[in-house]
């Protein structure tokens, strides 16, 4: 297996920018970040296999070098999962927007019943 420097840098940049975006409170940015980082991991999976030899079609004859189908199978699964999760994330972001009229997450811990009691319980000791 050869190491492709360009691919390695691409994966690193994708992962870094993905994680950076996922740290945001804006759900749309989170989705974009997840997609980027997901692509990074998929590329990592792709780079694991041999991508310069012919695919396996039918039965191999002799000792010719064929590409390993496993990483591709793993990527397929991973893409499907990414699709499903991003669908859910989009639905969640939309729901959050309809509830709060704000693409960012609400930050209102006083709404939480379990936080509110800190004030309520203050005079009760």
């Amino acid at each position: 297996m050869t190491v492709n420097l360009l691919l390695a840098i691409t994966i690193g940049v994708l992962f870094a920018s993905g994680v950076y975006l996922m740290l945001s409170r804006n759900l749309i940015r989170v989705i974009l970040g997840f997609l980027l980082a997901g692509h990074g991991v998929n590329l990592l999976l792709l780079s694991v296999g041999t991508y310069d030899s012919p695919p396996i079609v039918g039965e191999a004859t002799g000792d010719e070098q064929l590409s390993d189908p496993i990483p591709q199978a793993l990527i397929l699964t991973s893409i499907v999962i990414t699709l499903a999760v991003s669908t859910f994330l989009l639905a969640m972001a939309y729901r959050n927007y309809t509830v709060t009229r704000d693409p960012e997450l609400a930050d209102d811990p006083e709404d939480d019943d379990e936080f509110a009691d800190i004030d309520a319980g203050a005079g009760d000791e």
Binding site: M22, L27, I56, L76, V85
Partner: protein, 565 residues
Amino acid sequence: MTWLLPMAIILPITGAALTLVASRRPRVQRAISVTTISVQLAVEIVLLLQVQNDGPVVMHIGGWTAPLGVTLVADGLSSFMLVVSTLVSLAVLVYAISQGIADREVGPEVPISIFHPTFLILVTGVSNAFVAGDLFNLFVSFEILLTASYVLLTSGGTKERLRAGAPYIVVSLLSSLIFLAAIAMIYAATGTVNLADLSVKLAALPEGIVAVLQAMLLVAFGVKAAVFPMSAWLPDSYPSAPAPVTAVFAGLLTKVGIYAIIRVQTLLFPTGSYGTLLMIAALATMVVGILGAVSQSGIKRMLSFTLVSHIGYMLFGVALGNQAGLSAAIYYVAHHILVQTALFLAVGLIERVAGTTVLARLGGLAAAAPILAILFFIPAMNLAGVPPLSGFLGKVGLFEAGIEDGRVLALILVAGGALTSLLTLYAIIRVWGRAFWRPMPEINALDGDAGALQTESGRSLVVRRRVQRDAQRRVTQEKAAHLPIGMVGATTAVVTVGLLLTVFAGPIYALTDRAAASLLDRSIYVDAVLGAGEPLPPGSPPTESGETPAGSTGTEPAAPTGAGG
């Protein structure tokens, strides 16, 4: 009877499909999901007995032998975890159904048509994780259960649930990405993702590479298991979900992470590397978690912190790595699944009776709802490790293993564990004393008429307060008497099974001992998977160059591992 093994996955996923089809018929949905999980539980008990008698059960899906195909493996640990998890799922399902029926009389809170399929998918993911014989299948099952958990956690789509659910989702996504990257690198290094095959091939790799791979896996699983410092997401997200959802999450999801850590540490990395780091993480998880629990003023949040804290005990057993430690850790996992679920179910009942789980507003529940008080008290004492309950037995087992180990750090951990146990008792007693034992607080009884009180004399004020408090108590008693039978019954069932874990501690400890022994003797697992393969299907013999035809890989991507890159 190998065919029993995939039934643990096929049954709930089929049930999920059927309940989705029947989404407009709640009664049919309920019948399907209860039946499926009951049958699944029966199958898994048979499987457990079979594994106890004959050793690990292995199935190669589609006849593709390991390490090529998807392999399902049930050894002592897996089959035990399957039974405990499905038992808890069944109880929670009954509780949720009962709550759902009762809630619909008032107004729908949980969209019922979504709940059943999602819950069954969650159960599928958990079962699949326990029997997965390769890392990628483990990843897929994590994704199945996580995606289901996202839906359950944000069900209803209210502002609070979205706020609480989003951090959980983002953290889980990130840990999944790390897990997937780890799988990619492991495949690059070894050319396989099959656990049994990996346990052979990883030994040939340079030490540094193995350390990197192990660290990536531990981080990915550590986030899922809520190991400090990757545990901050848990107490923030769990309390806002509906009671049954929190209960099943608290019982099962973190334990799947612990299971994965146990599996990977024993099978893939038996050298005990990172043992010291794991011990420090275990200590920090225990102490930081319980300090968080002590400072909480709401029951749900307090319980979420104890959940994090007690993860440390299980990690402690894994970090020790000796047979006594592993055995106690497995026993503790079972104990903790049952106890945490029981407590969260009981808290759901408290919320129903008293209308709140905030300590400052609770009081007098022991008098108003004695059955509820018992249902809370038993698992609470069990969690705190009061003798002779199973929490005590599990902790004693861990401490014995720590002393047997003899390292200074292990002894510090034993001390830390004892301290955590005492602090758990303190946190629990605080809840008990405030919510159950003291009289009803007056701030509730005097709501809204502060103006009228100013004109009253002291004497009539006392009388008025007493009358109002009596009225309040009657309301609570009324509500306690009308708790749905399914909710109380399900909680009682989980509490009882938790007690059975104490009564039958001898046989169960013997079982976990055997499971731990077979974890340490890796050849049992490896031989069962690699040696007992069924023959390849006709027409697809391995070719001379060692390449294998890829007939099924394109359409069944979760699959196999190659003969070489």
